[in-house]
Symmetry: D2
């Protein structure tokens, strides 16, 4: 294929402009369409990018036989219908996280993409950051030893989403990192949440993910924190790693610290030694993650390669969110994933 991959962006609100800008600069790609239901947003597209056709009618865009792929950046409850329509029209699809609003919808999209032979990819942007790639390298190389825990805090004074609660809004970032890093299968989820404003949507939540072994993952998401925290701590038997996304330069710190079970004497005694050692902060590639992700999507679409964050990855995150939502409704009871 010698002409560029023609991409249409659906939704030009908060995230859409980033997709347009990045795809516009991705080699081998061209943004040919952009749709938004709001007239003023279409006018903005037209002013900034005279070469892009702006429309209020997605179907018009999808009827273009020259269009190869779409990127969907609309509210969550619309993801499923739009992605389905696009896949049925034979387009490759990149969709915002969370992939859909329910497990059933995600499963249907995965199956449909398979049948249509099209790429279905979910925009788990963090997976494409230099920081998470470094963490992945540390986990898969065994550098961290056995994984002990994954502890994430993502809190700030944020804008309320009007169609989803804080868990569906913020946790997908961290859940996408978790599922990318950790190969084990999550078994159960417990979650607690509260709605302080009477909006009907939880504004803070705690979520715990249980596995077959002693590994444990925990998430704190909060729209009501006066301070902004973005930290993930991954503990292992050999080393531990801290990803602090608010840190301007040293985002990843690796600690040569841990605990060693040195011996067991008889039945009742375990000797435990603490090991404190050096810390190091490897240089991290600072290129914009979305730019690398757009390149990856274009490459997968052109070569028919399975993407790193394909429909299955999106489904895994939605399954965890779904189990958490059930647990929240059942007073924090463990719910199967």
């Amino acid at each position: 294929m010698s002409r560029p991959l023609a991409i249409g962006v659906i939704g030009y609100g908060y995230w859409g402009p980033n997709l347009v800008r990045n795809f516009a600069e991705t080699p081998g790609a061209a943004v040919t369409w952009c749709s938004d239901m709001r007239e003023e947003r279409r006018a903005l597209v037209a002013r900034r990018y005279p070469g892009i056709r702006a429309t209020g009618d997605v179907d018009e865009m999808l009827r273009d036989p020259e269009l190869d792929a779409v990127a969907i950046a609309t509210p969550v409850h619309t993801h499923f219908a739009l992605a389905k329509k696009a896949l049925l029209a034979g387009k490759h699809v990149l969709v915002e996280k969370p992939m859909t609003a329910s497990v059933a919808e995600s499963e249907e999209l995965v199956a449909l993409a398979e049948r249509q032979g099209r790429v279905l990819m979910v925009d788990h942007t963090f997976v494409y950051t230099g920081a998470v790639e470094k963490m992945k390298e540390l986990v898969t190389s065994g550098e961290l030893g056995d994984l002990y825990y994954f502890d994430s805090v993502r809190v700030n004074l944020g804008l309320f989403q009007h169609d989803i609660d804080v868990l569906w809004d913020l946790a997908p970032h961290d859940l996408s990192i978790l599922t990318d890093l950790v190969p084990q299968t999550p078994r159960f989820v417990s979650a607690h949440a509260v709605d302080h404003t009477g909006s009907g949507l939880a504004d803070m939540a705690y979520m715990t993910v249980h596995y077959d072994d002693a590994f444990l993952a925990h998430f704190h998401v909060n729209w009501l924190s006066p301070v902004k925290v973005r930290r993930i701590l991954v503990g292992g038997s050999r080393r531990m790693v801290l990803f602090d996304d608010m840190e301007p330069s040293e985002k990843i710190c690796i600690y040569d610290r841990g605990v060693t079970v040195t011996s067991k004497e008889g039945l009742y005694k375990t000797l435990i030694d603490y090991r404190t050692g050096d810390m190091w902060a490897p240089r991290i590639e600072f290129r914009e993650a979305l730019s690398r992700e757009c390149e990856h999507f274009v490459e997968c679409a052109r070569l028919g390669k399975p993407p790193r964050t394909g429909g299955e990855a999106g489904l895994r995150v939605v399954r965890l969110l779904d189990a958490a939502t059930r647990s929240m409704a059942a007073e924090g009871r463990r719910e199967p994933v």
Copy 2:
């Protein structure tokens, strides 16, 4: 009473030396006895404080009719028996946190102190820090508005306690602050914990405390964190406060930030406004908390005043730990407090 209050310190291990040093410098008090079962610890007491009688036999100490009070700094499972013996001998008692290893024991001590007319106080040191006193002032004056949440993180690479798990080791600090600050009665506790070393004791735990209203408290305690974090965030409808105990100077930051439910239009719409405003860090009194606490104990013992952290406060903390322990054993099920 013109002679100083005569105090005996039981246990000269990690914390005992701090009690001896502080009581030795408290006006109106004198340390006359110190007991420890280990000969080398008694030798150390003798070398440092030639005027203090060191003994390996607590009963010998308690038989001294001149002894007015004891301070107990021994392993948790011994607190009950020692405190009971001391109260029965007519001594005032200051006991390390957690007060006892069970709710029944704590209840018995509270009742016994009442019957004996002696002061029973628990060493909730943090309650006597300038930082917590400032928080208390903010809560009780209504400065924070309605309380929304209490979120605490206390993690580090710590020394394993041999008789208690990480929850009973670390959480009493934060639970004592919670119960001091928040007047509402906790209803349920959910908790999750893991033991990664096979020691039989959990080394990390998450604990959630539920109330009748939307207020929520959450605790993360961890012996396996390579970084040391000591943070409590209290969110209110008007203001929020962060207590960061690792911060050398500005330990308390108050944020004039929050969320305002500005109006409800019809049934389905809530307009929510975020308010971002100034932050300020009030000057905090830096005097050693234990020194103020020792003064308070002496004053209560001499004047028969109820202490700020009396037996009831100790019992409240033990009730929460007990419910958490039950929840941990029941896969995180909500347990009544």
Copy 3:
């Protein structure tokens, strides 16, 4: 004037794109021309802004009678000739800092702008940040009391400028803040610098500015620091303020701390009391400074108002740089400003 102010941007390298983007979004302005000697930069302009005429010939641009103003973002040694030409052609001029490479050039531009009745403004961007505006407010309201010192550190591992040394590259930021905040007239400058790479350009420098009274200003600029620091501390007799530009949220912290000369007993004794008090961090307006500056330039050009950072302000900064350069050449001797 009802048509927008027509602006030409000269130089589309590192800073030019920011000028184009901001003026393009400034109400009442329109970017009609952009010049750059490099063909690929002109191509980039053409692709991004089809409506802007890109040229390699500044004279062509200046001959356009419809052009009202130019913004100059070229290397420092070209500022004077370009600004002079533009003023002579009757255009208003916004020029990058430092305004020119010498005092004589700056003086000539100031005089020429006066004669031509055109606005000459220098791009001291920091002066338009919410942080510096807050500092200005604190200084002029007397909140800080008598000014004691201005201490600035601006260090990082930076890209070498090819036509100017580290002092002329980095110090203009801080000198523009100093001259905006402090009304007193600087009298002498001492400076020390070193060139470690043999490039002929100093890569680190220290500069001290002396006044008639005890107020002192000091600057540390460095291209060879592995860590990035951007801090200005202004000490006053009543309060002190820290501007930490690396801090994501609390950029300005005001300390109610200082020293009080409480009394003088006889000839030899001065009793000095330290006062430690609260700290507060006022909410700072986060709007992009360059956007406010562009609006201000357009307003001044349209209404003939003198700009906040006009030619005189540019001249004051160049005078200080010039004195520092002389001092550096004279082993750090005090040089008059």
Copy 4:
């Protein structure tokens, strides 16, 4: 020698208690005397250490033939007379920094100690910290490459010294680190200082030390800073190191960052590349520096070894302070060391 080294501590004010406590716990040493002119300080010694003879008369102490050594912790202007007297009485001497109030005095002490065959050591405590030992290792192993600069900031809202200015009070810490780390001989000093309170003593100062090559050292000391900063940055051609003493755990950070002069093309072009790489924070020994220093003094006194911070090291620091004082009086003129 089988009996412990008998030590007398002169001055039981701010620092004396630390010397007494540390020598009391140093193997092979015993504190037998402590002198202070104030009765209440002697009473405090007597209460804390019944075994130590407290006196108001230094001569009485020095007449004791059993006394082997003294540690002097009195105001600076008294160091010379006391140290001289002690050396003449045949005692080894450890003296607080700065060693004396003038170069001549320091020279005389060095010569006298030599003649008397006694150890003269100056209490440059920082040299004995794990952090500075790590820095020394990095410098001497060539890990940092050629040394480029030494930049130190030591500022806080401090207590005024009544007999010395801020330079003589704070800079000795950093100058002792500089002279320990850097083998080159300093040639000139320039310094600027101001007295804002009319006390006759400068309360903030900047000091620059010049060498034969491009290496430069700079010091900022300040009693009027609302924030406490304790940072030393050492830049080298290969690596750079930051010592941040306010950092609770990672006090030493080593940056694999720098600048490489890659080639020179003809006469006018130097290609300079920046290298950004990993950072690492080695584990630092946290043992109290003064305790290691006391051991070292005892060892030197018993074995007749030259101490790491002997009279010559003390003299080097005093020479720098003296040159700075001359420069401050001469409007910042370069003064020879």
